[in-house]
């Protein structure tokens, strides 16, 4: 402690001589860093939570699956990795079987035998509320409530599966990784993996899905573990899948959200930099006299530089630490305030990663924005430093070189951070472009404002204020524009996502599909399912050629996304509820007798098709050529059934077809329907997609809420930065106010100029911010989420005006104390 005190001795004088300024700088740095740290903590918590959600789709980080027993090589490699502490493993073996209760009805069930550890992500919810591991003991059997009802059993009953006898222990209410193709086929039953052998059912000749679930101990090992397991798989028999491979639309949304939340963090980082710069400039101005004195007394450049560097460090290090803690508190506070609406499982924690990033960012920006004024101060002779308003020596070449290297390094760092989040470079370029463009525009606007002929005294005062020493109107306008732009962008994204949620999941979204309805069964099935059910005819066919040119199925199947090489279900149905025509005046033309087909626009992403093109289909051996009459587009994110090729009834009705019905039904209603349909039409099958829809809906809701939380955080961060900048110029503002009062200005005049000063800067910031918002939001919504974009002009105008109002109000609040200073007090006041 004595050593520290001695070490810091020389700078203690600096603190004593300019306590207010030092404190202001400390607060500015802490506030700027708090903003970044808070948003980063929240982003990392959201990242963790959303990744957990994504991983619950397969209940693991990755899995090896096979329709045959897992090979010895795979098992050995997994065991080795587990012994090394890199992974944890669990088995999940699935197959269909007849459950034969001692007293009750034999029932077809979907058995899942799981070992300890399952599920690694997500939850199996039991009726008792107890954890799965506690209930699923040897000899026990957990079943879906539907299975229990069908069997006519309850807890405590005995039932046979193959050669094994089990006791029913509990009911399973939810399962995270239920494959969609299994839903509706048979209700779920869980047994312990150790009991699998005694059922005698998972043997050669049985149809079984073997899964080895893998959970990583460290996320960084992902690629390496994937490679280790991948190289021992039996080709064509065993597959390795990660949660990213499930192809779920929900996961694609999550990927986009992760990336753009990171972008938000980057934006806050830029804002933090502006904040630190503003307060740093004010600090250096305060220190000029002291430096001049040191030089006059004979201190050389190194002594001066070392002394000021030590002083700066003595403020920066504690400010960064306090800012980091404050940021954590901010994230916690936000989490507590919004607990009811934020997604469950959002757990904000102190993180060394945030600490390192915060310190890195803080030091980086402080160093970057210090180097030039530092160099100027060191190089400028004392007499010029002391001259009022005198220009100083320029920064040295070394300092300028270091500055630009620093800028390039920060840009590179930003790029790396975004690259690590897995995104493309385009958003980086957009952010950089917008930031540079904003700074340029701000510079132009402020320059124009300064040159604009003054209209009255107030106007003249405001123009002077923009040129005030230490005033950084360009930085202020740019930083507030970026903050406003980010907030408005997030609001736009949230509105568009909410629209997705409302439109993709309306209350009557079909949640139940009835398939394989034969034509002669349609009327009878209609009587069961009711008038609200939608019936779609389905004709199976393949695309053979386009405009006479044969389709190469091999090439088509290699394409990502959908392709023309697969089998399609053709239909005849009017325009669906969630479709719009994007090309063609009507679905079908009236001026031709040739068969016509309307296509969905997304198929054109993989094969170029235009109006008037002829597609040749093969329908069970018979070829038919149809001309494209129109192009349809589905509403974004819709989970309703869809058909790529839609025909006129006359062209397809004679072809062999079945019907598929889509309807909404609650769980009890579905059970009754299933029983009735099974009794009357044994070939018909029901697929319940309710769980999938609810999951997607919940996810969209969570993403919308998270965006709202981030928009609040971003705006708060921007305000903190601006307040910091205002505080940095408080002294100069006070001096101006005193002078004006000496010249006869009253409170109203001062208030008016204050409003104009912040208003002018705020207006510029608002306009630029709105442009940034539209550009960023449009890119994210269209490219990131694949939605159509609604610019919400009126909302943006209203939000922009509100933001301007807040900026002006806060600016006034910050400036009010200096307006109240009496001239005599100001003249007498001395920096100690």
């Amino acid at each position: 402690m004595t050593v520290l005190a001695r070490f810091l001795g020389p700078v203690r004088a600096e603190w004593r001589h300019a306590p207010k300024t030092a404190f202001l700088f400390f607060v500015c740095v802490a506030l700027s860093v708090a903003a970044f740290s808070g948003v980063e903590s929240l982003r990392m918590a959201a990242d963790r939570m959303l990744r957990q959600e994504a991983k619950s789709f397969i209940a693991a980080d990755m899995e090896v699956r096979s329709a045959f027993n897992l090979s010895a090589l795979v098992l050995e490699r997994a065991t080795r990795l587990e012994d090394e502490g890199r992974i944890r493993t669990a088995f999940a073996t699935e197959f269909m079987a007849m459950a034969l209760p001692e007293e009750g009805r034999p029932t077809l069930v979907a058995v899942k035998a799981v070992s300890e550890g399952y599920p690694f992500y997500g939850q199996v919810r039991l009726r008792s509320g107890r954890p799965l591991g506690e209930v699923l003991e040897k000899g026990s059997f957990l079943a879906d409530p539907m299975a229990l009802r069908r069997m006519g059993v309850k807890s405590g009953s005995m039932a046979r599966l193959g050669d094994g006898v089990f006791m029913v222990k509990d009911a399973v209410l939810a399962e995270p990784d239920r494959p969609i193709d299994m839903v509706g086929l048979a209700p779920r039953v869980f047994i312990p993996h150790e009991d699998l052998e005694r059922t005698g059912l998972a043997v050669t000749g049985s149809r079984v899905r073997y899964r080895l679930l893998v959970a990583l101990q460290k996320e960084e090992d992902r690629a390496w573990v994937k490679k280790e397991l991948g190289e021992v798989l039996s080709p064509g028999v065993e597959e390795l899948r990660t949660y990213e491979d499930t192809g779920s639309q929900a996961l694609r949304w999550l990927d986009s959200l992760f990336y753009y939340l990171r972008l938000c963090g980057m934006g806050i980082l830029v804002l933090s930099g502006f904040g630190i710069r503003g307060s740093l400039v004010a600090l250096w101005m305060r220190k000029e006299k002291g430096v001049a004195l040191m030089k006059t007394l004979g201190a050389g450049p190194w002594r001066v530089g070392g002394h000021m560097a030590l002083f700066l460090l003595s403020l920066v290090i504690p400010a960064l630490f306090v800012g980091w803690l404050a940021g954590y508190g901010l994230a916690l506070g936000m989490g507590a305030l919004m607990a009811d609406v934020l997604p469950r499982g959002l757990d904000v924690a102190l993180s060394p990663e945030t600490l390192l990033t915060t310190f890195g960012v803080g030091f980086g920006f402080t160093f970057l924005f210090s180097i030039l004024p530092f160099s100027r101060m060191v190089r400028t002779p004392p007499v010029r430093l002391l001259q009022q308003g005198g220009g100083g020596q320029g920064a040295g070449r070394l300092a300028q070189g270091i500055f630009w290297v620093g800028v390039i390094f920060l840009v590179f760092l930003a790029g790396r951070m975004l690259q690590q989040a897995g995104g493309s470079r385009i958003p980086i370029l957009i952010l950089l472009g917008f930031s540079s463009g904003t700074v340029l525009c701000a510079w132009l606007l402020v320059g124009l404002a300064r040159r604009f002929p003054a209209q009255g005294a107030r106007h003249r005062v405001v123009m002077q204020a923009l040129k005030r020493p230490g005033a950084t109107p360009v930085a202020t306008v740019a930083s507030m524009a970026i903050a406003t732009g980010m907030v408005l962008a997030l609001v736009l994204m949230e509105r568009n996502l909410t629209r997705l949620f409302l439109e993709a999941f309306p209350e009557n979204t079909p949640s139940l599909y009835v398939i394989d309805i034969q034509p002669d069964q349609k009327k009878a099935v209609e009587a069961f399912v009711g008038p609200d059910a939608l019936f779609f005819p389905m004709v199976r066919a393949r695309v053979m050629a386009v405009n006479g040119k044969p389709i190469d199925a091999a090439v088509e199947r290699k394409k990502r996304g959908d392709n023309l090489g697969r089998e399609f279900s053709l239909t005849w149905h009017g325009l669906m509820e969630d479709e719009t025509l994007v090309e063609g005046r009507s679905l079908f033309r009236e001026d031709t007798d040739m068969p016509q087909v309307s296509i969905l626009d997304y198929i054109r992403a993989t094969y170029p098709l235009r109006l008037g093109d002829r597609i040749t289909f093969r329908i069970q051996g018979v070829e038919m050529t149809a001309v494209i009459s129109s192009v349809r587009k589905r509403k974004d994110g819709s989970l309703r059934p869809f058909f790529v090729f839609n025909f006129m009834e006359k062209d397809l009705v004679d072809a062999p077809h079945t019907f598929f019905a889509a309807l909404s039904a609650d769980r009890e209603g579905q059970e009754v329907l299933e029983r009735q349909l099974a009794e009357n039409f044994s070939n018909i099958r029901l697929i319940d997609v309710r769980d999938m829809i609810e999951r997607h809906a919940e996810l969209a809701r969570q993403m919308a809420v998270l965006l709202r939380a981030f928009s609040m955080a971003a705006f708060g961060a921007g305000l903190l930065v601006w307040l910091g900048g205002l505080s940095a110029t408080a002294a100069e503002r006070e001096k101006d106010a005193v002078l004006l009062r000496i010249l006869g200005a009253d409170h109203r005049f001062l208030l008016g100029t204050g409003i104009m000063e912040t208003g002018v800067q705020g207006l510029f910031a608002m306009i630029l911010g709105m442009l940034i918002a539209q550009g960023l939001a449009a890119y994210v919504v269209i490219r990131g989420f694949g939605l159509s974009y609604d610019p919400e002009i009126l909302l943006m105008l209203g939000a922009g005006i509100l933001a301007l109002g807040v900026m002006v109000l806060l600016g006034l609040v910050a400036a009010l104390p200096s307006m109240g200073t009496r001239p005599a007090d100001a003249v007498r006041a001395r920096e100690r």
Partner: protein, 233 residues
């Protein structure tokens, strides 16, 4: 003397002519068999329809690798002028197959049908008696239309229960006997349960698997074609 020589020459000449005819008529029998093998009695193309579910449609393999496409190639290589139409519909049960029997008969006008259906009935554990009714009705329709059928037998997975599996598997030989149609005892013989012959889902053959299927069913198809060729005027 001269007249006796002339008579002898006449006898020799007619005798040689007779021998010549005898020899050529004997040699013609094996050539005729070969000729029938190489060029069937009818010179028109036979239309074979492969009717069934995803096993017929070739789910997961390229269209050229499905069994109907490969069967066509194999038959043509052996001199059969055939067109094999793929009328497989993935996911279809026996009820679906029955509903399109008329389309197959009237639109495609098959000379021979290879019917492989029922697997999806079994996978969904649908009632076996309903499946039997459907397949019997199919065979009746084809019989009424004068279309010969080769029925592909199926087996079912053990985990669905031994009693069910026994009932299911007994349907095919029973119906084949009742309706007097050719039966391929198990369509996936030599392919089922073999990791190297199946796709990762364990139930659909891969390209190699379909090749094996065609190799095994070829004799049944040729036998049926030959019978059909002989019976057709």
């Amino acid at each position: 003397m001269l007249s006796e020589r002339k008579t002898l020459m006449k006898h020799v000449f007619w005798g040689m002519l007779l021998c010549f005819f005898l020899i050529t008529s004997c040699g013609q029998k094996p050539d005729a068999e070969a000729e029938r093998r190489e060029r069937p009695a009818r010179m028109d193309t036979y239309t074979l329809v492969a009717m069934g579910d995803s096993l017929t449609e070739g789910l997961g393999v390229l269209p050229d690798a499905s069994y109907p496409a490969r069967l066509e190639v194999a038959l043509r290589e052996r001199g059969w002028p055939v067109t094999v139409i793929n009328a497989g519909v993935s996911g279809e049960t026996s009820a679906g197959a029955l509903s399109r029997a008329d389309w197959i008969i009237h639109r495609l006008k098959p000379d021979l049908v290879i019917l492989v259906t029922g697997a999806n009935d079994g996978l969904r554990r649908l009632p076996v008696d309903a499946m039997e009714v459907n397949i019997r009705a199919l065979l009746n329709r084809f019989e009424e239309a004068g279309v010969p059928v080769i029925l592909g037998g199926m087996r079912m997975f053990f985990n669905l229960g031994p009693a069910y599996v026994r009932e299911f598997e007994a349907v095919y030989p029973r119906l084949a006997k009742e309706k007097k149609v050719d039966l391929i005892p198990f369509f996936l013989e030599g392919v089922a349960a073999s990791p190297s012959m199946n796709q990762p889902d364990g139930i659909h053959p891969n390209a190699e698997g379909y090749g094996e299927i065609v190799r095994r069913i070829l004799p049944y198809v040729e036998k049926a074609l030959t019978r059909h060729a002989r019976s057709t005027p």
